[in-house]
């Protein structure tokens, strides 16, 4: 009996040893075109420089996975890319480690929105309106045009969910970008947004994954769509005549976090520090049209790249910043109302 136990122990040690010897890091991102850009700009250079093997996992932003890992104290993810509302909620609920900023860099080097107790902003992205210029003679210039099915007949693509769509609906109804969240916070404002969405409902084709809307546009399933700006830039490079309308776009940040209880906290900090350097971020922005959060990275980019970024002055002039705090408070109620509205 005893010898059996010993044998089992020896076997388990033998199996775990190679894993221990090789410092391994698991980085989780949203995959797709964005994942490819990260692979080239962050993952591969970091592996070469540190002789570390990185396992990349793609996910869809499900906080449930992280919550389950943290609760079971079996955290296998070391660095995770999360969206703004999940950062503040997860940080409040103790899902993420508090970061040691001394290991990451100087807070002053980052745009203010990128600095958080639990996370470092990694890029600025935007949800924009895009259209297929081969199929539309006149370009739509506002959300009111997006709603105008007389002048622009055809289907519209929108992301399935309340986020962004309620803001777009209010802007289409004549609310100024600066007033959108003030209006949406009231009961009448939410009613107004849903009423406006109902107008367009028969013409909406919903999408769930970021890769879908450019496909819809190219295939001719929709004439206009809401879409992440980086996906359109990628499709343009493939030779498709897709155009972005930046008026009334909503920009937001994605962040790096470390799930609480990660066994590779040191290496995770090193990775985040590396991915936050101006050089690495500039390299990332050259791969996909998302803007760096490290202000020094902008100087390393040429004008052609800069003009495509959500933070370019011409693009950001009439844009709206996504309000994390509003959605952290109202998100659950509005999403539930959206689910009920969409199901009717």
């Amino acid at each position: 009996m005893k010898s059996k136990k010993l044998l089992a122990m020896a076997a388990s040690v033998a199996f775990t040893l190679p894993v221990l010897a090789q410092s391994n890091l698991t980085v989780v991102n949203f995959g797709g075109a964005n994942g490819v850009a990260q692979q080239r700009a962050y993952i591969e250079p970091f592996e070469r420089a540190n002789n570390t093997r990185i396992t990349v996992v793609a996910y869809n932003g499900e906080m449930a996975r992280i919550k389950a890992m943290v609760e079971a104290r079996r955290v296998t993810w070391d660095v995770v890319e999360v969206e703004g509302p999940d950062l503040s909620r997860g940080c409040d609920e103790g899902l993420f480690e508090k970061l040691d900023w001394s290991k990451i860099g100087n807070k002053a080097d980052f745009i203010p929105e990128a600095v958080h107790d639990c996370g470092v902003g990694t890029f600025v992205w935007s949800t924009v309106m895009a259209f297929n210029a081969d199929r539309l003679q006149t370009a739509p210039t506002s959300w009111a045009d997006f709603w105008d099915v007389q002048r622009f007949p055809g289907k519209r693509g929108m992301r399935k969910g309340a986020r962004y769509n309620l803001e777009f609906a209010l802007m289409a109804d004549g609310v100024k970008p600066a007033d959108v969240y003030r209006v949406l916070a009231t009961r009448e404002g939410a009613d107004r947004a849903f009423r406006k969405l109902s107008e367009l409902k028969p013409h909406i084709q919903w999408w769930a994954a970021g890769a879908q809307p450019p496909q819809f546009l190219v295939a001719g399933d929709v004439v206009m769509t809401t879409v992440f700006n980086g996906r359109i830039a990628a499709a343009q490079r493939e030779g498709h005549n897709l155009k972005i309308n930046w008026v009334g776009s909503i920009y937001d940040l994605d962040f790096w976090v470390i799930p609480r209880g990660s066994r590779n906290k040191e290496a995770a900090h090193r990775f985040i520090a590396f991915a936050s350097t101006p050089e690495a971020q500039a390299n990332f922005s050259r791969q996909i049209a998302y803007a760096p959060t490290n202000v020094h990275a902008l100087r390393l980019l040429d004008d052609r790249v800069l003009a495509e970024l959500p933070t370019a002055p011409a693009n950001a002039r009439e844009a709206l910043q996504f309000n994390i705090n509003f959605w952290a408070d109202q998100g659950e109620a509005l999403e539930r109302r959206f689910a009920s509205w969409a199901a009717q």
Binding site: D92, E93, D329, A342, A343
Partner: protein
């Protein structure tokens, strides 16, 4: 040993021996099925039990705000809350050990009253608010920090959730809610969804079952008339898609069904239609793909039953003067009822839990209940709500199954 000698048989002894042998046999049988029994217990009953408890468990507020709950116990929930409640709240918040507990409290209250998250977290971060010494001072301090503490809904939410167990998740999953005083009522029409979704789940499953049955019956009949070798080959063809990943099959349906896909191009080439018919992101696409995926579950039970029906019976009926159709309805069909029942039940119950297919091929009005279970689990991280929806689905399925047994008067046999 004893039986070989000619001693008179002691009946009492014999019956004891027989009894022992019988018990040994039973024990051996039990030992044989014990792996399965333990497996079922560990991997089926325990998760099911935890699902059902999660649906009524409500520890978040009770754990973190025990004193506040006590102070609010006698409150009528319509007038302003007593001063003691404000004092107790400050005391409770002050004795929170890790900030993650505050976050969990904030999430729970926010799902009840939108805005409670920022109220609770803001107050928690601003502690100790000048360390007030009396309950009245605590009230003043809290209201001064955030005047929302004067609003009743937040306090009503705390009072309502101070119990460790709650019917709220289950009520919400059938579009009911408790108001501030605990009276059960319907939710506002704009928030109501789940009854319609449950109904839709059964509707889609029923349509899929009927279509699958109509397609599988002739095929299974044809298979059962083929010689064994050919039948086996055909069965492999039936099973081939069964071995392909569901996602791959869904992706190929997307290619086939989209506006400029094969099906629409073919229809337009035929001249059957001028503009492409929308087949994707609506009910049609969902039903087509689900029928395709579930067809083998219908064909196999039907085939196995039809194999046992002797062809002579039909011939006998026809030779005795019955028309072929009449003979089929009176003689053949009743003998395949067992296969029809087993196949239909199998397909129907499997469809009820479908999630990936409607999520990828359907529009928002084609999502089934499991989609919302996944939504609350993954996106909202509201596991109480997910468990409640799961329980509703479980109960509804059990009710339907018992109805089915009443109607068909048969045990489920998948043989």
């Amino acid at each position: 040993m004893t039986s070989s000698t000619f001693t008179p048989i002691n009946t009492a002894d014999l019956s004891r021996q027989l009894g022992r042998a019988q018990r040994r046999k039973q024990l051996r049988a039990l030992a044989l099925i014990s792996p399965l029994l333990i497996f079922l217990l560990v991997f089926f009953m325990v998760p099911l039990g935890s699902l059902l408890t999660r649906a009524v468990e409500n520890p978040e507020v009770a754990n973190v705000l025990p004193l506040t709950g006590k102070a609010l116990a006698d409150w009528d929930r319509t007038s302003a809350p007593p001063d003691q409640a404000f004092g107790a709240l400050l005391q409770d918040l002050g004795s929170i050990e890790s900030s993650s507990q505050a976050g969990i409290l904030a999430r729970r209250l926010n799902s009840e009253v939108p805005g409670a998250r920022s109220l609770v977290m803001g107050t928690y971060r601003a502690l100790p608010l000048g360390e007030p010494s009396s309950a009245a001072e605590a009230r003043a301090a809290l209201v001064e920090h955030d005047e929302r503490w004067e609003e009743l809904p937040y306090w009503q939410a705390i009072a309502k959730n101070s119990q460790r167990w709650t019917p709220d998740y289950l009520l919400a999953s059938i579009d009911l809610r408790r108001d501030a005083t605990g009276k059960v009522m319907a939710v506002e029409p704009e928030q109501a969804a789940f009854r319609a979704i449950l109904l839709r789940t059964f509707e889609i499953s029923l349509v899929v079952t009927v279509v699958a049955l109509l397609m599988a019956y002739p095929l299974a009949y044809w298979l059962s008339t083929l010689p064994q070798r050919k039948a086996n080959l055909m069965l492999i063809l039936v099973l081939l898609p069964f071995w392909t990943s569901v996602l791959v099959r869904i992706a190929s349906w997307t290619v086939l069904l989209q506006n400029n896909g094969l099906v629409n191009s073919f229809l337009m080439w035929l001249g059957a239609t001028d503009a492409p018919i929308p087949l994707l992101f609506n009910r049609v696409g969902v039903v087509i793909a689900m029928v395709h995926i579930l067809l083998p579950f219908m064909i196999l039970p039907l085939y196995s039953v039809m194999k046992t029906v002797p062809a002579n019976y039909m011939r006998a009926a026809v030779s005795l003067g019955s028309s072929p159709l009449h003979a089929f309805c009176k003689v053949y069909l009743p003998q395949t009822y067992a296969g029809v029942a087993a196949g239909s039940l199998l397909v129907f119950i499997t469809s009820i839990g479908y999630y990936v297919t409607p999520a990828l091929l359907g529009g928002p009005a084609d999502q089934m209940l499991s989609y919302y279970v996944a939504y609350f689990t993954n996106v909202e991280v509201n596991w109480g709500m997910a468990a409640a929806l799961g329980s509703v689905l479980l109960v509804a399925t059990l009710v339907l199954y018992s109805l089915y047994r009443k109607v068909t008067r048969s045990e489920l046999s998948l043989g």
